[in-house]
Symmetry: C2
């Protein structure tokens, strides 16, 4: 008989991953009840473990760990709230729910003196939160960034390596269990934004709501954009980035051109990568699968085991000024130049205008870019500027067709 009794919510991709990894480990914890939604579905576990009633788990006093692995952020918040209020320890892999409600979740942990862990919510199998909390707590981190979304990276890999269509690649990512139920979260750059928001808390002790982070996804990347990148031996990767100089925080999620010298160039398929730049150890790189049943199951299991050892996050905090205006350099592609307000750019280094495709490479304030993107259709943007991981676009001379 284990000391720790788990009530599990959700038995989908990650829930089953946890079930398998836990059953193969001799942890002092066992799953005693599983709450799911759909009564019609066949399950691979004993019928008496299944329930459709959340209260049956939440009111069970024998259950001391709640693992929340459902695909509904709203319902997840209610479960996690209720569990914490009952003094149960909680593990969740729901980045949307955690990122959007971190203030409340930290307060609840404090008030009810019970921990919430969420390693599985951030970059799948990469142990990033634990390392930020423990090992990197004494590092002075200046920048943290990387590929935080396995599903988009999988799609980009298929687009670049195999010349697949966007729809085909998305379908494959979904079939492999890498994609969120709502694919917009992945391909729109929301999911990496949730992760970035959580990471900010554990890296810098800074709370920034995902709403306040700029995001642009990969769903508007056209064949022309891919051809542009390929001609210059570049790839496009969806990056999440945060830079903190001790006072001002700059954050964003956007596709970036990446050249071969960049470690991110070689991170393919559902793999994620976190790059940490600190004052003492300079560059640190962590690469691992960012999604999938067993990789994420392992991360969730590591949290369960941490709970059985009394582990909690410490939540340092820092004062900071919000980012204000960030100047960025971008490649902006469009169908029709008439749709584009060129004055939004502070400087333009290259432009091309064709009959149904054109682009501008130039410097622009992030807020002006946001306005431009909001007000236009048929546009896409890929970032080119910045420190270290980004590159200067090689200055090619182009023939201007019309």
């Amino acid at each position: 008989m284990s000391k720790y009794k788990i009530g599990l919510f959700g038995f989908g991709c990650v829930g089953q991953g946890l079930y398998k990894t836990l059953s193969e480990n001799n942890a002092d914890a066992e799953i005693v009840k599983v709450c799911v939604k759909n009564k019609e579905k066949k399950r691979s576990i004993e019928a008496e473990k299944i329930t459709y009633d959340a209260a049956e788990i939440l009111n069970n006093e024998d259950i001391n760990i709640i693992v929340e692995l459902i695909d509904d952020a709203k319902a997840a918040l209610e479960i996690v709230r209720a569990a914490l209020k009952k003094g149960k320890a909680v593990v969740s892999a729901n980045k949307k729910m955690v990122a959007e409600n971190l203030d409340e979740l930290i307060a609840l942990q404090k008030q009810y003196e019970t921990p919430l862990l969420y390693e599985g919510a951030v970059c799948g199998s990469i142990p990033i939160i634990r390392n930020l909390e423990d090992y990197y707590a004494s590092e002075q981190i200046e920048e943290i960034k990387g590929i935080f979304n396995g599903s988009s990276n999988y799609i980009l890999t298929k687009l670049f390596q195999e010349g697949k269509s966007y729809e085909e690649a998305l379908g494959e990512a979904q079939a492999n269990g890498f994609a969120e139920t709502d694919p917009t979260l992945d391909v729109g750059g929301f999911d990496p934004k949730f992760k970035l928001s959580i990471i900010l808390q554990h890296t810098f002790g800074i709370r920034q709501h995902p709403e306040n982070i700029f995001n642009w996804g990969i769903q508007n990347i056209s064949e022309k954009d891919i051809a542009f990148a390929k001609e210059r031996n570049l790839k496009i990767k969806l990056l999440a980035k945060a830079h903190f100089d001790g006072k001002v925080l700059s954050t964003l999620v956007a596709p970036h051109f990446i050249d071969e010298q960049n470690p991110l160039y070689h991170v393919e398929n559902e793999f994620n990568c976190v790059l940490i730049n600190g004052k003492y150890a300079s560059n640190q790189t962590l690469i691992g699968k960012g999604a999938g049943s067993l990789p994420t199951g392992l991360a969730v299991l590591s949290d369960v085991i941490a709970l059985t050892q009394g582990y909690t996050y410490r939540y340092k905090s820092a004062d900071f000024t919000s980012g204000g205006s960030q100047a960025v350099e971008v490649y902006l592609s469009f169908n029709d130049i008439e749709d584009i307000d060129k004055n939004a750019f502070t400087s333009i280094s290259e432009s091309y205008i064709g009959s149904d495709y054109g682009y501008i490479i130039g410097k622009i304030e992030l807020e002006a870019l946001q306005q431009l993107l909001n007000g236009s259709s048929g546009v896409n943007v890929v970032f080119t500027s910045g420190k270290q991981t980004e590159i200067e676009i090689p200055n090619l001379t182009y023939s201007y067709a019309n």
Copy 2:
């Protein structure tokens, strides 16, 4: 006044790194006394903190953490032994001392109920021991390997990228503080063997004395070997490798040919890389500086902070059979074919014999290779075979000069 008072042994490269990183963090720990050896040296710290007498620290009851950062493994063992016996918590970065005495050190920790941590001893700034102890404890790791010696990797980078001579490159590594006081430990492949031995304990719960691990270093790499690699677009990297199938353990440290597809190809200078292959999360990669004052200082500081939080290693253990005979594929180069017993090879796929340089590429048992290397001079060996990180040598046709 901090609760934790540190007695520091050694104020060289790493000792000063710890001093700086600690002084910039608000840890609940302070260095109250520093023991060094040479009375003539000028020090950058207050004279009243300096002592030349180990007993002054070891007998000081106020001091509850001993940090051992000297470059003498024998003296280090005595300090650590004495400290543990006095019930003081200890941090060390001495891989030789830890690897060669791990049985005793584990027993002492148990007997005196006081912890010893040594993150800084293994791969500098990469938090590998902590992750193996915590996060990866529930992973089923099949293979762990990588570049574990910053100094050799720095030398190899200079040889390959800048065409520097071996002596010049070694001198630079020493000037930068990456090399051990005795360079044979680094370039002879002993230092990575110590680290591998420590890693085996924390990955598989297996104790293997460094004496029982095959090692061949980089000090015999000739210009011809480098030319051979370059012609095939390969690099040579000094790898430490361990494979455990749940019963049989295979381990070795040796130079390997690495191609561009391999993540290790891009790990240069003093950077180290650890590749972990597990059943659940498949490949995980950690890259960071493997040496240097501040990177190693950070690792040591993280141990100090862990001690203030009551952290200890758990030391799982496993039954296993020793490796027995491993068949490997190697490139063996020589000055004179007369020195080489070709019958030691079980098969030969390629050979070249010139007037003062020749090579054989073939399969051989590790023990036979060891004998052959022991009995010959003017030879060098680079491994080509194995799983994942190693490559098949492309089959080039050669003209045979004589």
